[in-house]
């Protein structure tokens, strides 16, 4: 498992196992408005600007070319062949297990542990996108090494890159919440963890996740080994949400250093380039991730989804 697929295995996959019915409806329904791209030699998707007017044509292409990787655009175009006449783009978040800034496994590529951590992160992001931002129409796709969260709520499909980047920063907790508020009569300096709503709440959740997943080897900006050790020694307090005590034990100035470092670390939870690029192409759900021999799979139930069971092509089980 996780070994690259051979050319013959790709052929077997697309001829025998893959079917156009496995491509999710949200792509099939807009197939003629999307740009498709392919990587035939494992060197990146250089065969781009492909258009298929019907699902049948896409099916024939994949079955005959058996590409190393297949992609389709998050954007809808009037003229997808020229990427012209942009109509709208899905709002997308890409969580790659390999690039999660805090991983407890320490593996070089991806493994069951970091894929599970990616799943935990994805669940948290989806909750925020649902509860705070009111976005409900989404599809979760296991990409082969992580997850793509693809939102199709009409309200957000035409927002620009600047606003997409603000959404991203909001859901990952990329900025320390402001420290001073003013009710008109007096200034008020509540720490983020006593505010149980809005962005401070999201930030508190993300900081908690990060601290609980730090290891001795973790590298945080401006946090030395001594401070890291103190954070690790006190983090059990956060499991009981005893933030005040945690902050006191660490010391308020050092606490500030820790949350500043985690805020910048959080930016790495999601690949920002993917979110802000309105014309990005993403791996086509149901296609083969040949580098790791896994299927890019739409996930219906994140709790039950197990990539090592549900996204493994049959040819892998038959390998000697």
């Amino acid at each position: 498992m996780l070994e690259p697929a051979t050319r013959e295995e790709r052929r077997i996959y697309y001829k025998e196992e893959w079917d156009i019915k496995q491509v999710p409806d949200f792509i099939i329904d807009s197939v003629e408005n999307r740009e498709f791209g392919f990587d035939h030699f494992g060197k990146g998707p250089n065969d781009r600007y492909k258009v298929f007017n019907t699902p049948g044509r896409l099916k024939s292409f994949l079955k005959s070319k058996t590409p190393y990787a297949a992609y389709c655009s998050v954007a809808y175009y009037q003229k997808p062949r020229k990427r012209d006449g942009w109509i709208k783009s899905e709002l997308v978040f890409d969580v790659d297990a390999k690039d999660i800034p805090v991983r407890t496994c320490g593996c070089d590529n991806v493994c069951e542990i970091c894929l599970n951590e990616a799943k935990e992160i994805v669940s948290g992001l989806i909750d925020t996108l649902n509860d705070d931002l009111g976005l409900k129409n989404f599809h979760l796709v296991y990409s082969g090494r992580g997850y793509h969260i693809r939102f199709l709520d009409e309200d957000v499909m035409d927002i620009n890159s600047d606003v997409r980047s603000q959404v991203l920063k909001y859901i990952v907790g990329a900025d320390v919440p402001k420290e001073e508020y003013d009710d008109g009569n007096q200034k008020y300096n509540p720490p983020h963890f006593i505010i149980p709503f809005g962005y401070p709440k999201v930030f508190t959740e993300r900081v908690k996740y990060a601290i609980l997943h730090l290891t001795n080897e973790s590298k945080l900006d401006d946090v030395n080994q001594k401070l890291l050790k103190d954070v690790l020694n006190n983090r059990n307090l956060l499991q009981r949400n005893q933030w005040g005590l945690f902050k006191t034990n660490i010391g308020p100035i050092r606490y500030k250093k820790v949350i500043n470092a985690i805020a910048s670390l959080n930016m790495g939870l999601v690949d920002a380039k993917v979110t802000i690029d309105l014309k990005r192409i993403l791996r086509l759900p149901s296609s083969l991730h040949s580098k790791v021999s896994m299927k890019c799979t739409e996930v219906k139930n994140i709790e039950k989804f197990d990539p090592f069971k549900d996204a493994v092509p049959e040819f892998v089980w038959e390998r000697k």
Binding site: R83, L133, Q166, Y199
Partner: protein, 433 residues
């Protein structure tokens, strides 16, 4: 007490005012004693210097637009002579002028026109300034009243505030959100969050976290949107009935005022000031000259989109942006966008083409990003109707150039003399000094 229609002429109160007063289109251009008397009285209360006294409704409409234009060009000197626009005593007359203005623009231009956008923006700025002059208690009361009206009619979703978010006037993080709705109402706040707030009074938390400034900005945005919607509804009706020639005349006059040449009053003004004028390649700083030759290694996108696009557009259209601290849009200086399309974009595209590999070959989406950095949103087409969806990026400072694209920074004697602050200063210094 301040009338709601002083801030929102489209409120029920404002509509009722128009119904009662009536707009006699035949007399729009006639001298109107009521206007003259009220403005005179305001001017004497405010001790206005060189006051303007509109003589008719037509005049009042035009003065609103002139204030908007003069304020952009010369923000320091405009306040006093237009004081009457910001005094509550003008409310009734101003509501009628507002409706005349919107109807004229609606009939002639519709809601996707530059004129319509300018009128909505103009009204937004009038509101912002009127609120500044109100007593704090009056201001809070009126914002609450207007916002309650909006919230009762419809919940406000964060996605309706994309313009405000794009312009960075508010940040998503500063909003309190629940299920996509922006929580602004006290009752809503308490209903949604009282059960999770511990050791604090929810009412106090509401006062602290639902900021007055946010409410104010959202209210202004909603009124601006309603103004554009109203103009559109007039435009739709105008397609079925014959347009009134007097309103058409006003529309033409307003359009003419909006198109007046922008005048600059920058501190960089040597003889003649730093005006919009054709670019002179020979006077560019070394970093810009290098960027125009195309980038052969990494960082093509940043150089073309973030560095070159703002520099060339500001150097050509608004060179004194930093000294005037103005907030012009591209179309304020280049109303038909011909300069941008024929002079600026070709230079940017040419530099992109000289990159290795040519930027648009593998990253055609960067054309959209260039449009965005000029303030025209994330669209393929470079069109006036998208202007304002994004911010017109100002030229990058020398510090940022050094940090992000160090290979471009080869300071010469002029750079050193100017203390390497911003490449635009180099160009202005050589061109105008």
């Amino acid at each position: 007490m301040i009338s709601m229609s002083f801030i929102n002429p489209l409120s029920d109160e404002g509509k009722e005012m128009v119904k009662q007063e009536g707009i006699d289109l035949e007399r729009i251009f006639d001298e109107n004693e009521q206007i003259i008397n009220i403005v005179n009285s305001i001017n004497s209360k405010e001790k206005a210097v060189n006051p303007i006294i509109p003589q008719s409704y037509f005049d009042l409409v035009i003065k609103r637009v002139e204030w908007y234009i003069e304020r952009k060009n010369d923000p320091k000197n405009v306040k006093n002579k237009f004081d009457f626009l910001f005094h509550p005593d003008i409310t009734k007359l101003d509501v009628i002028a507002f409706y005349i203005l919107c109807q004229a623009i609606g009939i002639k231009f519709g809601s996707t026109s530059r004129e319509s956008r300018a009128i909505a923006e103009l009204h937004g700025e009038i509101i912002e300034n009127r609120l500044k002059y109100l007593q704090e208690t009056d201001k809070l009361e009126i914002i609450d009243k207007i916002m309650n009206d909006f919230i009762i009619q419809d919940r406000i979703k964060w996605t309706q505030l994309v313009d405000l978010l794009s312009s960075k006037k508010i940040s998503l993080q500063s909003l309190v959100l629940k299920n996509g709705e922006v929580i602004l109402d006290r009752e809503d706040f308490i209903e949604n969050f009282a059960h999770v707030i511990k050791n604090q009074r929810p009412e106090r938390m509401y006062n602290v976290f639902i900021g007055k400034k946010i409410k104010e900005l959202i209210m202004i945005k909603m009124i601006m949107q309603n103004t554009e919607d109203y103009i559109e509804s007039v435009h739709e009706r105008a397609n079925i009935i014959e347009p009134n020639p007097k309103l058409l005349k006003i529309a033409n006059e307003v359009s003419e005022v909006l198109s007046r040449e922008i005048r600059y009053h920058g501190s960089f003004s040597g003889p003649g000031g730093a005006k919009a004028s054709p670019l002179n390649h020979d006077l560019f700083p070394p970093c810009i000259k290098l960027a125009l030759e195309g980038i052969k290694s990494g960082g093509r996108n940043e150089v073309i989109v973030l560095f070159l696009t703002p520099f060339l557009s500001y150097a050509r259209l608004n060179p004194s942006v930093f000294s005037n601290n103005n907030t012009l849009k591209v179309s304020d200086v280049d109303p038909d966008l011909k300069i941008t399309k024929n002079e600026i974009l070709p230079m940017i595209y040419d530099a992109a083409d000289k990159c290795s590999p040519p930027l648009f070959d593998d990253q055609p989406q960067e054309k959209i990003n260039i449009n965005a950095k000029l303030g025209f949103g994330m669209h393929d087409d470079f069109s006036i109707q998208h202007e304002g969806e994004t911010k017109w990026y100002t030229p990058m400072s020398c510090d940022k150039v050094k940090m992000n694209m160090p290979s471009l920074c080869k300071p010469d004697e002029v750079c050193k003399r100017l203390k390497e602050i911003n490449p635009l200063f180099y160009y202005i210094d050589r061109k105008y000094r």
